[in-house]
């Protein structure tokens, strides 16, 4: 034993435990996010519990089992339960009962002791709604235009409503949105002329006539909209809730009616995938706690793309300078220390700098110069997607530099000498020989920068991200790309929904799903980058021989 200790073997094993712990935590973390995130999309079993509570009152509870926990009997002494003496723990279920218009809370705890009977009736349905969350219960009847019809028609009726809803959305978003946008631009135009003292009567008349025609179009569209609204709210569904109460739900508010208990495995699988699909392409509902994350995905991608456009040339040029041009002197080591420091400065400091310098100083000056008609409401003098991508470009600059430089350093110098010996200038060598060979390394750097930027939240909270952006930064109104707009971001979405929303418990599965999405994107990006880099290394090794 003593000898064994002296050999140092225990210490080796302990250090091996460090590796194991790191591995377990990485993989466990990924597994945790994946399992929790994916289970959000899986259609869960619907239960009906017959409950007899401690006062002897019978009731029925319908819902999904959300969580289970075991509690020691000693903590339940105040309930005076009659239990077998050997029983030490009792199970407690967290049931999601939905039906927000009937009960104030979405969730309730149920002691399994009180449950008399548990059933999973086939005709239980979950109704996903636009507002008020899910409704659990039985379909009582379907009412079309005041007349009760066969409930088989529900699918067609829902498709009809869906159709109208689509048209309403189109009208509101593109047509009416465009008119409002144009009206606002006209107002600003008038103001601009006023400020420049160029507002003559003829200009005014021209603008006025445009306003009038826009208003007329608006009135027409609004009428059309009203027509659709009327159509869409024609029918309703009568649901029987767990306490037997009949609740009418207008089809207008219904997104989906699912008989979860009737689904077989493959149907569940298809529901699972369609849920994932709608999570990615839909807009959020109910203060972001339900629905999809499309605007957040869009915002993240747009911001990251803008950032890439800014950071790639800068980073590559800086790396080329450091590796190909800079001499071995104190200034170069200064520069290297600057690169390391740019990588090490906390991201929030970039946020502060971005807010002060880009938003207030640069943006404020831009407003003074070019958007004075808008003042005092700021155009670029307020956080927005342009400033966010600029801030993140500085933040990810070192990532691109380090990766590109590594690629450059692996290119054998024979290739440079060869090119130079054949009479090419240094710039030509760079452009024709070095850069093409280094391009996978540059790619790696850019991908790593994208991965870093996609996950960064702290600086964005200061320079442009919002919990709910009314408009995407890219739309059909001239000039199409609105760099001054605020945007939504997946990472901030996680923070906001998980920590700032009124009903954190209900939103938690969605947060896990969003986290899964973000992690998959980032892990995929990183793995791509790493595999490119590895392949590149192999290639260079071959070049050397």
């Amino acid at each position: 034993m003593n000898k064994w200790f002296k050999s140092g073997a225990p210490w080796i094993w302990l250090s091996a435990a460090g590796v194991s712990i790191s591995l377990i935590s990485v993989l466990g973390l990924l597994w945790l996010i994946a399992s929790r995130g994916l289970s959000y999309f899986w259609p869960s079993q619907l239960y009906q519990f017959d409950v007899l509570d401690k006062n002897g009152v019978k009731s029925v509870v319908i819902g999904e089992i959300y969580d289970r926990e075991e509690i020691p009997v000693s903590q339940l002494a105040h309930l005076n339960l009659v239990l077998p003496p050997e029983q030490e723990v009792l199970e407690r279920l967290l049931i999601k009962t939905g039906n927000r218009e009937l009960v104030s809370l979405d969730f309730r705890w149920l002691l399994s002791h009180y449950i008399q009977k548990t059933e999973t009736p086939k005709d239980l349905v979950v109704v996903e709604r636009r507002t008020n969350g899910n409704f659990y219960g039985y379909i009582d009847s379907v009412v079309v235009d005041g007349k009760v019809v066969d409930s088989n028609q529900l699918t067609t009726l829902l498709a009809r409503v869906e159709n109208f809803q689509q048209q309403i959305d189109d009208l509101q978003k593109s047509d009416i949105g465009a008119i409002n946008y144009q009206l606002e631009r006209l107002r600003l135009k008038t103001r601009k002329y006023q400020l420049q003292n160029k507002l003559t009567a003829s200009v005014q008349a021209e603008i006025d006539s445009e306003v009038v025609s826009l208003n007329q179009r608006y009135a027409k569209l609004e009428q059309e909209l009203m027509g659709y609204r009327e159509e869409i709210s024609r029918d309703h569904l009568v649901m029987r809730a767990m306490d037997g109460q009949l609740v009418p739900i207008n089809l207008e508010y219904i997104l989906k009616v699912t008989f979860n208990n009737k689904l077989n495995f493959f149907e569940k699988l298809s529901t699972f995938f369609s849920q994932i699909g709608s999570f990615i392409i839909e807009d959020p509902r109910e203060a972001n706690t339900e629905g999809g994350v499309f605007p957040a995905i869009f915002g993240t991608v747009l911001m990251v793309l803008l950032m890439t456009v800014i950071v790639s040339p800068l980073g590559v040029i800086a790396a080329i300078y450091l590796h190909e041009y800079a001499g071995k002197n104190a200034f170069t080591s200064f520069l290297r220390i600057a690169v390391i420091n740019l990588a090490g400065v906390p991201s929030i400091v970039y946020g502060v700098f971005g807010l002060g310098f880009f938003v207030y100083m640069v943006g404020g000056s831009l407003d003074q110069l070019f958007y004075s008609e808008n003042l005092p409401s700021p155009t670029f003098g307020t956080p927005g997607v342009l400033w966010s991508s600029l801030t993140l470009a500085i933040l990810t600059l070192p990532v691109v530099i380090v990766s590109t430089e590594e690629g450059l350093s692996r290119i054998p110098s024979e290739m440079r000498y060869g090119s130079l010996a054949l009479g090419a200038t240094k710039a030509e060598t760079l452009w024709r020989i070095i850069l093409p060979i280094a391009s996978p390394a540059i790619m790696t750097g850019i991908i790593l920068a994208i991965a870093r930027a996609a996950g960064e939240v702290a600086p964005l909270m200061l320079v442009g991200v919002v919990k709910m952006a009314p408009n995407l930064p890219l739309d059909g109104n001239f000039p199409f790309l609105h760099l001054d707009r605020k945007f939504m971001h997946l990472g901030f979405h996680i923070y906001d929904v998980g920590f700032q929303s009124p009903n954190v418990e209900a939103a938690r599965p969605l947060v896990f799903a969003t986290a899964l999405l973000l992690v998959s994107i980032i892990v995929a990006l990183n793995m791509t980058a790493v595999s490119i880099r590895n392949r590149l290394r192999e290639k260079y090794k071959m070049l050397e021989h």
């Binding site: 034993m1 140092g8 073997a9 225990p10 080796i12 094993w13 302990l14 250090s15 091996a16 435990a17 460090g18 590796v19 194991s20 712990i21 790191s22 935590s25 990485v26 993989l27 973390l29 020691p72 000693s74 040029i317 800086a318 080329i320 300078y321 200064f334 520069l335 220390i337 390391i340 420091n341 740019l342 090490g344 906390p346 929030i348 400091v349 946020g351 502060v352 700098f353 002060g356 310098f357 207030y360 100083m361 500085i394 710039a427 030509e428 452009w431 996950g455 702290a458 200061l462 990472g491 996680i494 923070y495 998980g498 920590f499 947060v511 986290a515 973000l518 992690v519 892990v523 790493v530």
Partner: protein
């Protein structure tokens, strides 16, 4: 040939152009870093600048020979200034506009437009003896014959043709007739008042030596009346019992706090504090007798500080002391908190005594005045001496601070012509008096607190709230979070790095290293969210398990190692020691599972069923769900890959001949590792830890989500903290641009910048040195 030459030339031009462009791009990196540094500094600097007072407008006033100026005032934008003379006349002057612009009935050009304040008949030929100021715009006029009138000189802005014009007006909140403050209508040599919407309280010392309190209680609201109509109110007269001392010596000064709760009555060098809150009786609450520097020093002036908690006492030796109520063991007492020296050592002042103290309306700054016109500016809370200098030739007739505290109006004798009066305005640059290096880093005694303390509290709902900016609690929080994170991360990361670099087979290393490095790519927002929403509740429920794990995991590892050691060689061959990390994975998972299942049982056995309650109730330890333990583990995970990668690189690149030499001399693997490899790689390991520390210090999202963000000074592992970075993230969106709060948040960012700059530069420096060392080996 010609084309060839031109082609060569254009190639040469392109080549040098490319060189310049690339050099520019390379230098831009350095430029960016310097820009960040300079910009942060540029925003931070103004908070450390001292105050500046510069003369602005000077107006010579033409007054009849015997008229005396009693009061003055100015609007918020400092366009209109007024003065009130003892004939009861108000004169308005325009400070900026030209003659054409001034068109309203009060003003023509820069000449005064005057009117009598006595609108009703009762004031024929009256002479004012005093004008009493309050914290609001209201002023109380008292005449020689004992009549009293409440006026409110006001300003409002009028927008016409895109130009702004300030219009002056005088309101009479209680009507234009004389107020009956004393039931017996005696003259009131000392008078003070304060008012809110429903009530006005006057405290006065009458000529026949009674101290009286009179309350006017409105039927409706005082504020609603601006037309000068008479308003209905009820009057309550009360006489205050006087200590004989006061009766004999008389009263020198009276002040009433703006919240109508206290009256300060100064007679000689004693201040009597009366509570006005009780309805039926005016109670003597305390007496303040300051300890003066020498026997012949006496009190000369008194003023209330904004916020109605503090009183300032100035004495004949040029000192001012600040007093407020402090909760002590024997109840609430007035205590001297700090004192200020208004004497200028370098200059021989003709008069030291402080003749008047003027306080700002919204901030805790005050100005002191001497008979020779020497002015000092102080800020109480930060104990800052902001400015001193000569602003007048003698004690001025009237002195007022502009409502936004960015200007001064002084009316006094014209230095050139003694018979003439002179109105002088000054512009004051004093935006951040509350911020000093001491106030940021040392204990500060805030009003209402029992003792000096480090407090960060930047905003609150109420108006007269004083922001408290001590960077100590949040810097402490940063260090605490980083400390617990490093406590967790360093052992795990370094042991993992040692094993990976030194003991692991190359094939396994190729898979393990990228996997652990993957953790670095995980967004911190996800780590933070898991820590806050998943880990924190889990740890609260299974608290004993977490602590058990710290003991059980090493034990289980050693046990596994020992049993492997005892295994027959046949099995050992199949399961070589190099697979240890893989073998340990099930062991660790199993141990964790056991710890968690034992946790409720352990809780029941040792902690009466609930460790959390046991901590709070039996041990008196506060427990936050989101505490330092959660942050330590979550941020530890974020830091592990940083330390791991760099330390692994450092150990891995230790030249092989060193280890081979050691092994050849008979050292065991472990001895070689400790004696040779770690020693050689130690600078690299140090720089890895430094980098990790830099990351832990600046991490935002994890701390933001996994702690309660309470700025407290407590090392307890069961309590949360607020860090510099999280504080910026929380408060920056709400900070008003250019305010002290905004600049202090920039200062926090600057501190973080410098912190990490030092860590990173040191780490990089060490690493570069190490690289040279290795290459020379």
């Amino acid at each position: 040939m010609a084309t060839l030459i031109s082609a060569t030339r254009s190639r040469a031009v392109k080549n040098s152009l490319a060189k310049w462009l690339i050099t520019l791009g390379g230098i831009s990196v350095l430029f960016t870093l310097v820009l960040i540094f300079l910009y942060l500094l540029y925003v931070v600097m103004p908070i450390f600048e001292s105050a500046k007072i510069e003369p602005a407008v000077n107006i010579s006033i033409d007054l009849p020979a015997n008229d005396k100026v009693l009061a003055t005032g100015v609007d918020e934008l400092q366009e209109l200034v007024y003065q009130i003379t003892d004939t009861g006349t108000i004169h308005f002057y325009h400070l900026t506009a030209s003659a054409e612009q001034a068109s309203n009935q009060f003003l023509v050009g820069d000449k005064a437009l005057s009117r009598s304040l006595f609108a009703s008949d009762g004031f024929n030929q009256e002479q004012l003896v005093s004008v009493v100021n309050s914290f609001s715009a209201n002023k109380l006029l008292h005449t020689r014959s004992g009549k009293t009138l409440l006026i409110q000189p006001g300003f409002h802005a009028l927008y016409a043709n895109d130009t702004r014009e300030i219009i002056a007006q005088v309101n009479y909140p209680l009507g234009q007739k004389s107020l009956k403050i004393d039931e017996q209508q005696a003259k009131l040599p000392q008078l003070a008042f304060a008012l809110d919407d429903e009530k006005i309280v006057f405290v006065a010392f009458t000529e026949d030596k009674r101290l009286i309190k009179t309350s006017f209680i409105a039927d409706d609201e005082f504020g609603s009346n601006s037309a000068g109509d008479d308003i209905d109110y009820e009057i309550i007269y009360q006489q205050i019992d006087l200590p004989t001392a006061i009766v004999n010596s008389g009263v020198d000064e009276i002040k009433v706090t703006p919240d109508l709760s206290l009256a300060f009555v100064r007679t000689g060098s004693t201040v009597w504090v009366y509570s006005l809150k009780e309805h039926d009786e005016v109670r003597l609450k305390a007496t303040i007798t300051p300890i003066l520097s020498s026997e012949d020093t006496y009190l000369t002036s008194m003023a209330l500080l904004s916020g109605s908690s503090s009183v300032l006492l100035g004495d004949s030796s040029g000192h001012v002391s600040q007093w407020f109520e402090v909760a002590t063991e024997s109840g609430r007492q007035f205590k001297q908190i700090r004192s200020f020296n208004a004497n200028d050592d370098s200059q021989k002042q003709t008069s030291k005594a402080i003749t008047a103290i003027y306080t700002e309306r919204f901030r805790k700054s005050f100005y002191t005045m001497t008979a020779s016109g020497w002015v000092n500016v102080f800020y109480t809370t930060s104990s800052a001496h902001l400015w001193q200098g000569q602003l007048a030739s003698s004690q001025p007739a009237a002195f007022t601070i502009a409502p936004r505290a960015n200007g001064l109006i002084i009316i006094g004798n014209d230095p050139l012509d003694a018979n003439k009066q002179n109105l002088q305005t000054f512009s004051v640059h004093n935006e951040h008096p509350e911020v000093t290096w001491q106030a940021l880093w040392q204990e500060v005694w805030y009003e209402g607190y029992p003792e000096p303390d480090y407090i960060w509290q930047s905003s609150s709902g109420s108006d007269d709230f004083e922001a408290k900016f001590s960077l100590v609690p949040i810097s402490f929080g940063t260090i605490k979070a980083a400390f617990y994170a490093m406590l967790f991360a360093v052992p795990v990361a370094l042991s993992a790095a040692i094993y990976t670099a030194y003991f692991m087979t190359p094939n396994l290393r190729k898979k393990v290293k990228p996997t652990i490095e993957m953790m670095e790519a995980l967004p911190t927002v996800i780590l933070g969210f898991l820590a806050g929403l998943w880990l924190a509740p889990l740890m609260e429920e299974y608290l004993p398990a977490i602590f058990m794990l710290f003991i059980l995991l090493p034990l289980a590892t050693l046990l596994t190692a020992f049993s492997w050691h005892k295994l027959p060689n046949k099995v050992k061959d199949k399961l070589p020691e190099t697979l240890a990390p893989i073998l340990l994975i099930p062991v660790i998972i199993l141990t964790t599972y056991v710890a968690f299942s034992l946790s409720p049982w352990l809780e029941a056995m040792l902690f009466n069923g609930d460790m959390r309650q046991y901590l709070t109730n039996d041990l008196g330890i506060n427990f936050d769900q989101r505490n330092a333990l959660v942050v330590g583990i979550a941020m530890g995970f974020a830091v592990i890959p940083t330390i791991y990668t760099m330390a692994e690189d450092a150990i891995f690149s230790v030249p092989g001949h060193l280890t081979n030499g050691s092994l050849a001399l008979g050292a065991t693997q472990w001895q070689t590792l400790v004696g040779v490899v770690l020693l050689t790689a130690s600078p690299g390991i140090f720089s890895a830890v430094m980098m990790g520390l830099g990351r832990a210090v600046g991490e935002t999202m994890i701390v933001l989500m996994a702690t309660g963000n309470t700025p407290i000074l407590d090392w307890s592992i069961f309590q949360g903290m607020r860090t510099l970075a999280a504080n910026i993230a929380v408060e920056m969106p709400e900070a008003e641009v250019g305010s002290s709060h905004y600049r202090i948040l920039f200062l926090a960012a600057f501190v973080l910048f410098i912190f990490t700059f030092i860590f990173n530069t040191a780490a990089e420096f060490v690493r570069q040195r190490l690289r040279e060392k290795y290459s020379s080996m």
